[in-house]
Symmetry: C2
Subunit: 644 residues, 2 copies
């Protein structure tokens, strides 16, 4: 065994000689966001050796200068003797690696308000399946000495007219002391089934009938977003988001699935999303709103099919093996206590139904909130999260497919990529001298680039002549922002470290650009193939909704110009934000919405792109800026003609 | 802090100076059976000080000789400095204090067989609510790629004609790997509700339809008895009993209730009965029978009302405070996993319904197995466990009451008392020279006296002239078996320690006799009061069933002679053993029996003895051998006339 010490955390652990350094970092409980999960491909586990004996492989992510200073990639390093290593404290290494963001501003409240308004306009009524009632019971006497539980049931039968009253063990355990403390004046929370039966899920002292809350959670592969809602009026009580702590086990669903097959991997992934991500978000919202855990008695979550499996701790490996079978698409009845989710333990956990192995509940939920299920127009719904899913249809039919876009839209697998959160470059323009102007979320100093920023950057680089239409950096330009490494791979520096006092420069490499071009090509070719499948083309699209974690500042025009979206009238294209969370929010408030959601998930027709004969050709043609066939992008062609 | 070491366990712990020695024994994880729970009344926590500084109060349980040898009562001792103490290894100090007994002999099987036979004769049909089915499903293909869960449900709908199929999270987690390992040939265990709906509670590889098992447990205050049963044919697969590990917190229900109000007392009591008593019994039965935990999918338990509360972890304190209200009499739906009971986690835990605060599910269950609910004759059912409950009635009506008899019938609060298990003196006769002949369970060396032995002993002492009719030992008899201590309290030695190489003599003191007389008087006066309440007397009794842990060798004649049972034709009196366990066994096998049980619990009329005006007079009159009014016991009177 050898000792390995991590600063500035001041943590020291013992590991076997020869242990991988990234493994040791994890064992020490320090979070590193490693999208490639230790293959050396992403360069994100850069640490600094202070002393000791650690043997590391070379990496293109370590410059000669950095190598002299002791920088190494943890995943490419082996601990040979007692050593000390400095792990940079980054955005993601605090609090289980999760920086929790606040969204309690008025803008956020407006989004929820208008979503609720649209729901009511579409004919869905308010009203949740959970009810509260205040009861004043007679205390027991020697003559009326039935048990507490019978007394409660008797009163409910009499006052509320239910013939059958059920409750579970935790309520039974609560009753004896609570009834007496409350002088037999209590509020019950219950779930009626029809007019005859009801199940008690909570008892509280006194009149608490106005305090009825629910939580909605969108479980993204990269980001998790949550809100706390008053179930009586849909008021947004709190809102929080963070990265998904599962990121330490891999950036995309395939790497997570692979991790789930190893030892206790499945349990670790389940623990990461619930204990390290969702529960901290709930805690923060409880602190922000003053609402107690026990008052939260409704819970709706949505995620892609892999996230849904990992959330429930269900083995997902058959999702990625032919014939690609999910363990479930619709979940059975599950209580919060079964998953250790920190809401009232008796709360029913509703996980939005998935459609297929690669189209999950997040898409069902997004379609619900988009309103396209109620539309006479043809709507194209695109979710740009990790991977990318597409739905096309209207009130008559819904077709869907999944694109293998990877995590690039959320900053994954991009060397300076990050989620659309504080410090992310969300907007970029480049002038004639190749000098960039940056828009940074929160007006902070730049820390990385999020999806919308990368779209801007690639588009601007293209029109500034920094990259060609293959995404390769043009040589010989007169600027210090362009560099080529020993392998000849070019990089454009967006922000110099000295200027902003950063750990390293923020830039984009040809490798990053290539990753992103393949991601946008996956989306574009997905749209084309889905329309072809219906014998339609772009002219049949009446409206496009873009959803997902790409960032609020998505520049639609630039997204068209790089060839991610079809070149149609841009007034038809709208960014609608986190539509999955919004669908969960509607489902919390309205039983009508829940029924609609079930219908949507049941009725969507899944198209498997990989078996469509033309898909691969479409994809390859789209791996260009904007496309190998520029005539498909008349607007872009016009710009080129102008700028040339 | 001071160090206290316990030998021969070789355990050393640190405790604050001034700690009570009995508390320290418990903290060290050593079990001592202390019926009085540390009040100094029972004398059962005798230990030997080896060295150190321990300050002890005097006790009548410590002889002068013992005091010289270092013997002290742990509960009456304070640790002042580092010390070493020897704790005797007794029957009850091994394996969490529980000696698990085996009952797999043919005699035991016969009891179960005849109980089953009686059930069938009374018109109740075989058949449990849990079913098994073998399914051969089609494996998934690219064309038939619905989820595993949907596939299972589809097959069940098709093959078994249920329109709704439910399952819970643990089954969902099991499905993906199991289906493929089993090549989609599996056995489901399910619980149908009507013809339409069913809930899957287990899935197994291959055809396991013949392996369907259930467990029945009688949770006594002193003893816990369990059996493992084949649900297809009622075959007894295994049988085990042990003491209730809760004994360390008090011998009777009142002391346990008081303990439950202190700190984590309720959790400790719940842990003791489930983790330290029931689960070890289940483990032993699994080892004996080769049946696996997962195959046990039905569970029935019965206990008195306090035991029922503690089994579920429900606060019982209002049971003992006017107006004596139980938290529940009938339990809600509870899964084994909620209580950490080691059967299949999805198993429904059926706790037999109680009648009132002091008439529990053990009595409901006993009445079921006695068959008195189906009888045209008037039957008196007496359960002689800790306390004593009485039921009188027939197929038309059932009246019940509880007697404050304490734990004496199971050896509790008797200085040399023990449960009816190996080493217990179960039969005694005494000759003209005051010399006893002992019948010991298992033909082992005597370790203590069980209930049936005490009845014999008191009866024989009375007729041998050793005690008078008040239970006082006659002075001046020519025998070395009678001794009086410094307080003048007499003792009769049943077994000298030197003769059997024992730790101490086995005897009975006047204090013990007095305890026992009050216990038997409680039963007798209970019977009288209950009959009076119905304007009946002993001549209306057609049959008496004695049940409970008093021991198989109960001598009915002696029980009448000491005035515990009414002096009626003894051919009408039958000992029926552990009727509570037998009722659980019937309930496991037959849904008819379960329905009957619910009816019995609902229909029993509870009579509160303490508010009956004549009860106290009856009790005082019965605190004599056999009774102050000898004319009530003509048979005994005749014997006295003969022997005088």
């Amino acid at each position: 065994m050898v000792k390995i010490k991590f600063i500035p955390y001041n943590r020291e652990i013992e590991v076997p000689k020869g242990e991988n350094l990234l493994e040791a970092v994890r064992k020490a409980g320090i979070f590193m966001d490693t999208p490639c999960n230790g293959s050396g491909a992403c360069g994100k586990c850069k640490v600094k050796k202070i002393n000791g004996n650690i043997v590391s492989k070379n990496s293109r992510y370590i410059t000669e200068e950095e190598e002299k200073d002791g920088y190494i990639l943890a995943c490419q390093s082996i601990i040979e003797a007692d050593s000390t290593v400095e792990v940079p404290e980054t955005e993601s290494s605090s609090m289980h690696g999760m920086k929790i963001e606040d969204f309690s501003g008025n803008r956020e409240k407006d989004i929820f308000q208008s979503s609720k308004k649209r729901m009511l306009e579409s004919g869905m009524k308010f009203g949740t399946y959970v009810k509260k009632e205040y009861l004043e019971m007679d205390p027991p006497t020697l003559d009326d000495n039935i048990s507490d539980f019978e007394r409660l049931k008797r009163h409910i039968r009499k006052q509320l007219n239910y013939s059958s009253v059920f409750c579970r063990l935790p309520i039974l355990r609560k009753i004896p002391k609570l009834l007496r403390k409350a002088n037999f004046k209590i509020t019950i929370t219950h779930i009626p089934r029809g007019n005859e039966k009801t199940t008690i899920i909570n008892v509280e002292e006194g009149d608490k009938t106005r305090e009825l809350y629910g939580a909605a959670v969108d479980i993204g592969t990269t980001s998790v977003a949550a809100c706390l809602v008053n179930l009586y009026n849909g008021e947004l009580m709190a809102r929080a988001s963070s990265g998904n702590a599962q990121i330490k086990y891999g950036a995309d669903v395939i790497n997570r699935i692979i991790y789930s097959t190893k030892g206790s991997g499945l349990q670790e992934l389940n623990y990461a999303v619930i204990q390290e991500t969702i529960n901290p978000l709930l805690d923060k919202m409880y602190r922000d709103s003053g609402i107690s855990r026990d008052q939260v008695v409704s819970f709706v979550a949505a995620g892609n099919t892999t996230m849904s499996h990992l959330f429930l701790g269900v083995y997902p490996n058959f999702l990625r093996m032919e014939p690609y079978i999910p363990a479930f698409v619709k979940t059975p009845f599950i209580k919060a206590s079964e998953l250790d989710i920190e809401v009232n333990p008796e709360t029913f956990i509703y996980l939005v139904p998935c459609v297929a192995s690669y189209v999950g509940g997040d898409i069902s939920s997004g379609v619900l909130s988009s309103g396209m299920w109620n539309s006479e127009e043809n709507v194209l719904f695109i979710d740009l999260g990790t991977n990318g899913e597409i739905v096309f249809g209207n009130s008559e039919y819904l077709m869907t497919c999944a694109c293998s876009a990877g995590p690039a839209f959320e900053g994954g697998e991009i060397s300076c990529g990050m989620r659309a959160s504080g410090g992310a470059v969300e907007k970029v323009s480049i002038d004639g001298n190749y000098e960039p102007t940056l828009g940074v979320i929160g007006n902070e100093k730049p820390l990385g680039i999020c999806g919308s920023g990368i779209i801007d950057l690639i588009c601007e680089m293209m029109f500034a002549g920094i990259i060609d239409r293959k995404g390769k950096i043009v040589k010989g330009l007169d600027t210090n922002r362009i560099r080529f490494d020993e392998h000849g791979i070019g990089e454009y520096i967006l922000a110099f470290k000295d200027q902003y006092n950063l750990e390293r420069n923020i830039g984009i490499t040809e490798v990053d650009i290539d990753s992103f071009i393949r991601a946008k090509a996956a989306i574009y070719s997905g749209i084309t193939t889905l329309l072809n499948n219906l014998s339609m083309d772009f002219t049949d699209i009446d409206r496009i909704y873009i959803a997902g974690g790409i960032g609020n500042s998505l520049n639609i025009d630039n997204a068209v110009k790089i060839g991610m979206l079809p070149d149609i009238d841009q007034s038809k294209i709208h960014y609608i934000g986190n539509s999955s969370l919004m669908g969960c929010y509607l489902t919390l408030m309205s039983e009508d919405a829940r029924h609609k959601l079930e219908q949507i998930a049941n009725s969507m027709t899944y198209v498997e792109l990989s078996v469509e004969p033309k898909y691969m050709d479409e994809f390859v043609s789209a791996c260009f800026l904007p496309h190998t066939d520029i005539d498909k992008f008349p607007t872009v062609k016009k710009c080129f003609n102008k700028s040339v």
